[in-house]
């Protein structure tokens, strides 16, 4: 027999009735000034305990009792093992610290291992037709805004296309076509689109000293195609964004954004890893195609010099930003690392 102080509401009117709860065997009695009710304990549903907030007893017929005497109510709570586990975790600061560590670990694992692995898996299973359609639409979207028709003469284009075909024949990848575009906005650059379309800007061809330098950059882009970086990084960035917004979805969007800042750094690392992979691929392919790797180092130096002249050390052009530092890549091209890389 125990007595618990509580308030009773009949569920029909908002009037509060202070009552004493008396529990005896399997029966619950509510006794107050104008209340005298009795119920089977089994017919009552008790709300789950959350921190030390008052708990409700929902009675048959729509009435309800509320009491802040959680210590007493705990004795009658019927909670599953899982619910008890959750409540114990919430009650102890040590578990909060443990949760922080485990979450950090889980997020790191998910973003560092889980997302790339899943993206890789999905990227391999995207039907070629879908990817081709995606690539074509990306190119036509760019054509409307930042890309203009190429002004290179047909002879230059043909020579580069032949070189590209030679690289393809050696690497055995399905890629192409090689597209030429003028783009004052982007400047000297080359990039790969989904399904292996490779775009080279007139500005890059103008900057280069010879065709082999352009082919070095094209080989680097082929590396992205070979390793499926384009679809993979698209999938990775959307999955990472989804994870972060799910985790921080508790708050206003501005603070969610602030909390998501570290993942931007992770994204940058992804892309640097991808660039290294593409570099290694390019050097290897150039060797096999009989193009001296020094061409890669030369064009990188030209790109960097051009970038510095234009921006006085400010933002770098597209091909160099988010790429590994140029000296490191030149070293790779010079063969110091290239021979032992995969």
């Amino acid at each position: 027999m125990s007595a618990i102080q509580a308030d009773y509401f009949d569920g029909m009117r908002s009037a509060r009735h202070p009552v004493t709860l008396l529990v005896n065997a399997a029966r619950l009695k509510l006794v107050g000034q104008d209340v005298d009710l009795e119920y089977d304990l089994a017919s009552i549903r008790m709300s789950r305990r959350v921190a030390d907030t008052p708990r409700w007893l929902y009675l048959p017929g729509g009435g309800a009792c509320v009491s802040g005497d959680n210590a007493a109510l705990d004795r009658y709570a019927r909670e599953s093992a899982l619910e008890r586990r959750v409540r114990q975790w919430e009650a102890r600061p040590a578990y909060a610290v443990l949760s922080v560590l485990l979450i950090a670990l889980a997020v790191w694992f998910l973003i560092d291992r889980g997302v790339p692995a899943a993206a890789d898996l999905i990227a391999q299973r995207i039907p070629p037709a879908v990817e081709r359609d995606f690539g074509r639409r990306t190119l036509s979207a760019l054509d409307g805004y930042v890309l203009k028709p190429s002004t290179l003469d047909g002879e230059d284009q043909r020579a580069l296309r032949e070189g590209f075909a030679r690289l393809l024949a050696i690497s055995g990848d399905k890629a192409g076509p090689l597209e030429f575009r003028a783009s004052p906005i982007i400047g000297p650059n080359a990039f790969a689109l989904p399904s292996g379309i490779i775009v080279v800007t007139d500005e890059l061809v103008d900057l280069s000293d010879n065709d082999e330098e352009v082919l070095a950059v094209v080989a680097h882009e082929l590396g992205h195609v070979h390793h499926r970086h384009i679809m993979r990084s698209l999938l990775e960035s959307s999955a990472t964004g989804f994870i972060v917004t799910t985790l921080t979805g508790d708050i206003t969007s501005a603070s969610a954004l602030a909390a998501a800042a570290p993942t931007v750094l992770l994204q940058a690392r992804f892309s640097r890893d991808n660039e290294r992979e593409a570099d290694v691929f390019a050097i290897d392919l150039m060797r096999r195609a009989g193009i001296a790797p020094v061409n890669f180092a030369n064009i990188l130096r030209s790109l960097e010099a051009q970038g510095e002249a234009k921006h006085k050390g400010g933002a770098l052009p597209g091909f160099l930003s988010s790429h590994p530092p140029t000296p490191e890549r030149e070293a790779l091209a010079a063969g110091q690392d290239g021979s032992k890389a995969r």
Binding site: G11, R13, R48, A51, E90, A96, A106, T248, S255, P262
Partner: protein, 362 residues
């Protein structure tokens, strides 16, 4: 022993008792909420999101149970399974949209049409779910407008806003808040809200003034700083780079927008609650624009420097601030009665709303 509501008021015709001003009080604290939040996060993560429905209920129960009005706390009755079902449907809808709009770009228009005609239904469902699962003193709240009535309210007015190129927007906002509040009830006690549209024109015009004024002010200051640095010749070449110009521009632009946003939030909230009455009750809201700016800025900074760990602190701080500036004024003591219409409803509506980030403005 009797509570004051039920006590007979002594008949004193010469000196009627003045209105009672009730302020809701939050009795929890950030430390307690942090533990609930972090455990929620952990279990949601390891169950790949399934637990998030239970997490939401625990969070709501914590905030409702820790908030008292006139000595009695609130109760949240939403079922995690109903919420999970809603989230699964919402996730399925997003996935279908994602794939279909990539594979068949034209299907976007179909989705747009469905969204346009379907969103009033979503709003009605979400508000109904939330109201009916919120209770105080053993009585549930209610949202009394049907999905059809909500659709009849929204669609013609939105079309009008479109036809006037947005000039009717403040008028629409006034009507929308009046509609939403007037459709809410505590038990069978309906609220009533009427807001003159010109008040919202005033709010939005002043907000526009804030954006333009702060643009001039901050822009002028930025130019002065840049010129000043240039004159001193410290050799900060980087300052002339496009990145710095861009950053200064962003601060100027978003600073003004941020203040205007906080101003609109504060004034809208104040206006809609002061224009609302219920049986024997009226409301008061006294949020300040600067207070909101400080609140938002503090929360964003705290979340950024703590990698998100101070988010619960920010949530509690925001709630405290809002409650401190809100009052229920009892002009006539009444006992409220339950609505006979309230029945069960699933959570699909609300969760779709959460997922697509529709702002319900309450």
């Amino acid at each position: 022993m009797d509570q004051p509501l039920a006590a007979p008021v002594p008949a004193l015709p010469s000196a009627p008792p003045g209105p009672r001003v009730l302020r809701p009080v939050f009795t929890g604290n950030a430390r307690e909420y942090f533990r609930i939040w972090i455990v929620n996060l952990f279990f949601s993560l390891v169950t790949l999101g399934i637990y998030s429905a239970w997490a939401k209920v625990r969070k709501k129960k914590y905030f409702y149970g820790s908030t008292t009005l006139d000595g009695d706390s609130f109760d949240y009755l939403g079922s995690p399974k109903a919420i999970l079902k809603g989230r699964l449907i919402a996730a399925a809808a997003v996935i279908v949209y994602g794939f279909a709009s990539q594979l068949y770009p034209l299907s976007r228009f179909a989705f747009l049409a469905v969204a346009f005609f379907g969103f009033p239904w979503l709003i009605a469902r979400a508000l109904t779910f939330n109201a009916r699962n919120s209770a105080w003193r053993g009585l549930r709240f209610d949202f009394t407008a049907s999905a059809a009535a909500t659709t009849r309210f929204y669609l013609p007015r939105l079309i009008l806003v479109g036809l006037t190129a947005g000039l009717a927007y403040p008028w629409f906002v006034a009507r929308r808040h009046a509609f939403t509040l007037s459709s809410h009830a505590y038990g069978a006690s309906r609220l009533h809200c009427e807001i003159p549209a010109r008040k919202f024109y005033g709010i939005y015009l002043r907000a526009l003034g804030i954006v333009i004024g702060s643009g001039f002010l901050l822009g002028g200051a930025a130019v002065l700083v840049l010129v000043g640095v240039g004159k001193t010749g410290i050799g900060l070449e980087g300052l002339n780079s496009p990145l710095v110009t861009f950053a200064i521009g962003a601060v100027v632009l978003y600073g003004g927008y941020g203040v205007a946003y906080a101003y609109i939030q504060a004034r809208t909230n104040n206006l809609m609650w002061t224009m609302t009455t219920g049986p024997g009750v009226r409301f008061e809201s006294t949020l300040g624009a600067w207070g909101m700016v400080r609140l938002y800025l503090g929360n964003i900074l705290a979340a950024a420097v703590s990698a998100g760990l101070l988010i619960p602190w920010g949530v509690v701080r925001a709630l405290r601030y809002r409650l401190e500036h809100f009052a229920v004024i009892i002009e006539e003591e009444r006992v409220h009665e339950a609505s006979p219409a309230v029945s069960r409803i699933d959570a699909t509506g609300q969760e779709l709303g959460d997922f697509f980030n529709v702002d319900f403005g309450i």
